[in-house]
């Protein structure tokens, strides 16, 4: 298909699309896709993913399809949208890149003692298992099923025979109990009450 024929074909399809013809619109977008991708690549959008820009152009085209004048050629309309969206994407990318800072190696944690205390406790699986074992039976069962095995409430209710409401209450109390126990162990270890 020559450029003129394509232009005429796309213009006709767009007229039909404006009238609500979905099949014509899908064909229009499919036929436009290689042209859009070619224009995007030709603009050499530095640091941008071509696919993302192409999809952005398709969405933009969709949102302004009423601005196409059936009496005018289609390709300049499409080309103007495509070029404009590429420039916008580059501008957006440049703005984001300007505010980003590249860190060669991310710090593993924060240096403050306050931030590290809780993490140490939470990372200590031995203490956690001891705290779970110390919970009352119902709460322990609820925590094990919902938090450790990650069962849904429905599955846990079927397995345990408890109602969903009772499970919710038990797991809430269980987590609260765990938090208190872990804080208590921390005090035992450090020897200084919080």
């Amino acid at each position: 298909m020559s450029a003129d024929e394509l232009n005429l074909r796309l213009g006709t399809l767009m007229r039909l699309a404006q009238a609500g013809d979905r099949i014509a619109y899908a064909e229009l977008l499919r036929l436009s896709l290689p042209f859009i991708a070619r224009v995007v690549r030709a603009q050499r959008p530095y640091g941008l993913v071509i696919d993302d820009v192409v999809q952005d152009v398709l969405l933009s085209l969709h949102s302004v399809r009423h601005t196409y004048d059936p009496g005018r050629p289609f390709m300049p309309w499409l080309a103007a949208i495509t070029r404009n969206r590429v420039v916008d994407a580059q501008r957006r990318h440049a703005r984001i890149a300007r505010n980003e800072e590249f860190v060669p190696e991310y710090p593993e944690t924060f240096s403050g003692d306050e931030t590290n205390t809780d993490m140490t406790i939470q990372g200590d699986t031995g203490l956690l298992h001891r705290a779970i074992a110390d919970l009352p039976a119902g709460q322990r069962q609820a925590v094990e099923m919902l938090k450790l095995r990650e069962l849904s409430l429905k599955e846990a209710a079927a397995e345990s025979g408890m109602s969903i409401a009772a499970l919710k209450v038990a797991v809430h109390r269980g987590v609260k109990g765990l938090r208190q126990r872990l804080m208590g162990y921390d005090e035992e270890q450090s020897g200084t009450p919080k």
């Binding site: 404006q18 609500g20 390709m75």
Partner: protein, 226 residues
């Protein structure tokens, strides 16, 4: 490119499409804008009262040239703003208002020179004329609202140019009305206070262009803002 994701998007967009009403031509939109705006300007002029020397003014060639050029600038700017919102239209259309604008400013500039030649520096004396600013703002209120609503129907292909041209249209029409009730004809005063106000509006509107006119994400029927 990743054909699968693009094709999936095409399917979604095609499924979402409905009947859309194409934008009318810029000429018809300019006429619509004028029909919406003119009654407001006429009302402002009527409320403020026609200037007492209007009969004399309409026989003044320079005054008439300035009024015609002001009106032509407003219309050309409105049409250029509507053209600028349509992708793929030629860029020269955006510069058409420069012609009547040059005649308008040229006539005022010539008036300043004439005053300078006949009265010396006294001919270019400036005094404060605070009526111009609120009067132009008031007269341009409805034209500006109508223009904003209408350019929002277009695309954000040239947002700053579009809003600046829209402000020039609204301000130009207001200035045309202002000179029917405000008896200030010293070219330097008109240039600084009246044209200055219009250009302040143009500058502010241009700077707000990217905020006012944005590419709106397509809202698909599935309820997702794609």
């Amino acid at each position: 490119m990743n054909d699968t994701s693009a094709n999936q998007l095409i399917e979604r967009l095609a499924a979402d499409t409905t009947l859309v009403k194409p934008l009318r031509s810029p000429l018809l939109r300019t006429i619509s804008w004028l029909l919406l705006s003119a009654p407001w300007v006429v009302a402002v002029v009527a409320i403020m009262g026609l200037r007492s020397d209007l009969g004399e003014r309409v026989t003044d060639f320079r005054w008439m040239v300035e009024q015609i050029a002001t009106f032509a600038t407003a219309l050309a700017a409105a049409m250029a703003a509507f053209c600028a919102g349509v992708p793929g239209r030629p860029r020269w259309e955006r510069f058409v208002p420069l012609l009547p604008l040059a005649i308008w400013l040229g006539s005022l500039g010539d008036g300043c020179l004439q005053s300078w030649h006949s009265l010396g520096s006294a001919g270019l004396t400036l005094h404060t004329d605070w009526l111009c600013l609120p009067a132009i703002m008031m007269a341009s209120f409805a034209p500006a609202i109508a223009m904003t609503v209408m350019i929002l129907r277009g695309s954000a292909i040239a947002p700053m140019t579009t809003t600046a041209l829209g402000a020039l249209a609204a301000g130009g029409l207001a200035e045309f009305g202002l000179r029917l009730f405000h008896p200030e004809d010293a070219s330097v005063m008109v240039l600084i206070w009246q044209v200055g106000t219009v250009f302040a509006m143009v500058t502010i509107a241009g700077l707000l262009g990217r905020t006012v006119l944005r590419w709106r994400p397509a809202l698909l029927a599935s309820g997702t803002a794609a």
